[in-house]
């Protein structure tokens, strides 16, 4: 029963969503909209589990003074303080002068931007470490990469207007063609995986205890 019920639920809901794609009638579509809303509610409820798990693991590690335990306390304090401040300010949490906005502007915004900015450094080190020109195809790729990197900045146009035009052509023609091929393959993979899951051919994702490796 423990194995069959989830598979049956998956089959029924999967087939229903598939049918709803083709049937615009409100009899089907309204229920489809409700099902999507239920999914959002269920996911919302899992946030309670998620936060509980986060607190449980980090509080235990802090209590046991495991490695970097001090940062666990910083994490827990950050979570609790931000929640408390946000709730205490009610509807005014989004006012420019609110304490919640201060936390957002002082901590969250700069730290998030900084993490994204690290990409620039990592791209440079990956370019040095890993971009090896060992074949004619890799050489073509490197030439295209040089043209694109120059074409995408004003320097390329200053050297010669051909460079940004070439960069545009590379992106709009060969890149687009290759990407569409990958997308078609990936879309077929999505169909195959989805149908395997819906029909119950693939059961392992739900932890249903199939034997063997």
């Amino acid at each position: 029963m423990k194995r069959e019920v989830p598979i049956l639920i998956t089959l029924v809901s999967g087939l229903f969503c598939l049918i709803a794609f083709f049937v615009p009638h409100p009899f089907v579509h309204d229920l489809y909209g409700d099902v999507q809303n239920w999914a959002i509610v269920v996911v919302g409820c899992t946030y309670v589990l998620g936060v509980a798990n986060l607190l449980r693991i980090n509080v235990r590690q802090a209590q046991r003074r495991e490695g970097d335990w001090f940062y666990k306390i910083v994490l827990i304090a950050g979570l609790l303080v931000t929640m408390a401040v946000g709730f205490s300010e009610g509807n005014h949490y989004s006012d420019v002068t609110s304490r919640f906005q201060w936390i957002y502007r002082t901590f969250y915004s700069p730290m998030t931007s900084t993490m994204f900015a690290l990409l620039a450094f990592f791209i440079a080190s990956a370019a040095f470490r890993a971009f090896r020109i060992r074949s004619p195809e890799a050489l073509l790729l490197a030439i295209a990469a040089f043209i694109l990197m120059l074409g995408r900045v004003p320097l390329g146009n200053a050297i010669h207007p051909f460079i940004p035009n070439a960069a545009d052509w590379l992106m709009e023609v060969p890149q687009n063609a290759a990407k569409r091929g990958i997308l078609i393959g990936a879309a077929l993979g999505v169909m195959a995986t989805g149908i395997r899951v819906i029909l119950g051919l693939e059961k392992t994702y739900g932890g249903t205890g199939e034997g063997g490796a």
Binding site: L18, F21, F22, V23, P24, H25, P26, F27, H29, A39, V43, T46, V48, L49, G50, N53, L54, I57, R60, G67, D68, M111, T112, M115, F116, L118, L119, F122, S125, A126, A127, R129, A130, F131, K179, I182, L183, I184, G185, A186, L188, G189, V190, M191, A192, T193, I195, R196, L201, E202, T204, Y205, G206, G207, T208, G209, E210, G211, G212, A213
Partner: protein, 381 residues
């Protein structure tokens, strides 16, 4: 006729006035309602919409006010439309109720107004005919799927090309076991309803079983509570499947945060502290892909990545040891399982791909010679 005496000229004055009035009205009627307004149910929708089309003769009005009434009611304005427009979709009607429409010219000029349209009802369709092409391909896929599954069940075996990344999974776990270090499995940054995340959970089952069998420490940080819930169940069950329930620890799977870059920072921190020997980056990734891959490389981990996000593939190809690109990632679970029925689904998707390639080539040739019916059939817009 009206009781007025005849005039000296012998003409009935009231009769003349009546005749002139009638003539004017007739002439006016001929000029009013200058052009027809066609109203029809908007096809392939769930009702609640009527489409209007018209061709206004020159000179057109600067603007129209579209008015609408239910049968037997009075006209009320709906919207204002520019004079150069020739169609409009009224999406604010009740299904099943008959409506009539008219275009009233602005500035007011009855000679430029349209006729009143015939009463029309919005109807909900049971099938969206614009999706016939999708249904055809889906039907072909289903047919091929069941056909190949039948073949697989009757003993037919196919050969598939080797994907180095898949063969490397067991090698990577073995390496981690030998080095006495752990494995890190990152299931992407999308929710559990994303097909890439579902595919990641399928692969997590296999990786967990191997890790349990080899007694290698496995860590799975997740960025969504939904994914955490499923991943925890997957890992726990996988350990139970190979008889190692005792080895499973509840903190192996943990929810970090839903914020993209906070999650990346946390996972990078785990990599730098725990120094796993093998990293599996399997799922939907965005800007964090290179951040994770480079940090993983810096701690000396062997890295196997897989994603269907086209814009992140180049970063994984450059920075990881093995990369599963697009459909290889989705095929991975079937190939690893070696289950005949799952391999049958792989065969079906390959066959559909050949069919689509044929359609693209034939369609391009036909289009070159001015025949657009094939490309038109496959159009989705």
């Amino acid at each position: 006729m009206l009781g007025v005496e005849r005039g000296k000229a012998g003409v009935h004055l009231p009769a003349a006035v009546s005749f002139a009035t009638c003539l004017c009205s007739l002439l006016l009627a001929l000029h009013v309602a200058a052009f027809p307004l066609k109203a029809s149910d908007t096809p392939n929708d769930g009702g609640g919409s009527i489409t209007l089309e018209w061709t206004a003769p020159q000179p057109v009005a600067k603007e129209w006010i579209l008015v609408r009434r239910e049968r037997g009611g009075t006209f009320a304005p709906v919207t204002t439309i520019e004079g150069t427009v020739h169609s409009f979709r009224d999406g604010a009607v009740q299904t099943g109720v008959a409506y009539e429409y008219q275009l009233v010219a602005q500035p007011t000029d009855p000679q430029l107004d349209s006729e009143v349209s015939a009463p029309t009802r919005a109807v909900a369709a049971w099938f969206d005919r614009t999706k016939v092409n999708v249904l055809v391909v889906a039907a072909i896929f289903f047919f091929l799927l069941f056909f190949y599954i039948r073949q697989a069940e009757s003993g037919v075996r196919w050969s598939f090309r080797k994907i180095p990344g898949l063969a490397a999974i067991e090698e990577a776990i073995g390496r981690a076991t030998e080095m006495g270090r752990g494995i890190l499995y990152v299931p992407g940054v999308q929710e559990i309803d994303d097909i890439q995340t579902i595919a990641s959970m399928i692969l997590l089952t296999k990786v967990s079983r191997m890790a349990a069998k080899y007694e290698t420490n496995l860590l799975v940080p997740t960025n969504s509570p939904g994914v955490y819930t499923v991943a925890e169940e997957v890992v726990k069950s996988a350990y139970g499947d190979v008889g190692r329930s005792d080895a499973y620890r509840s903190d192996q799977v943990r929810y970090i945060t839903s914020e993209q870059f906070a999650y990346v920072a946390a996972v990078n921190g785990i990599m730098l502290r725990e120094r796993p020997a093998a990293n599996f980056l399997l799922g939907a990734f965005f800007a964090e892909s290179l951040l994770l891959a480079e940090t993983g490389h810096s701690v000396g981990a062997i890295q196997i990545a897989g994603t269907a996000n086209v814009h992140q593939m180049p970063f994984f190809v450059v920075a990881c040891d093995y990369t599963l690109i697009g459909e290889e990632y989705y095929a991975a679970s079937a190939l690893l399982s070696n289950d005949a029925r799952l391999l049958g689904s792989l065969k079906a998707s390959d066959t559909v791909k050949i069919f689509l390639i044929t359609v693209i080539v034939v369609g391009s040739l036909l289009l070159t010679f001015g025949q657009s019916w094939l490309t038109g059939f496959f159009s989705t817009q």
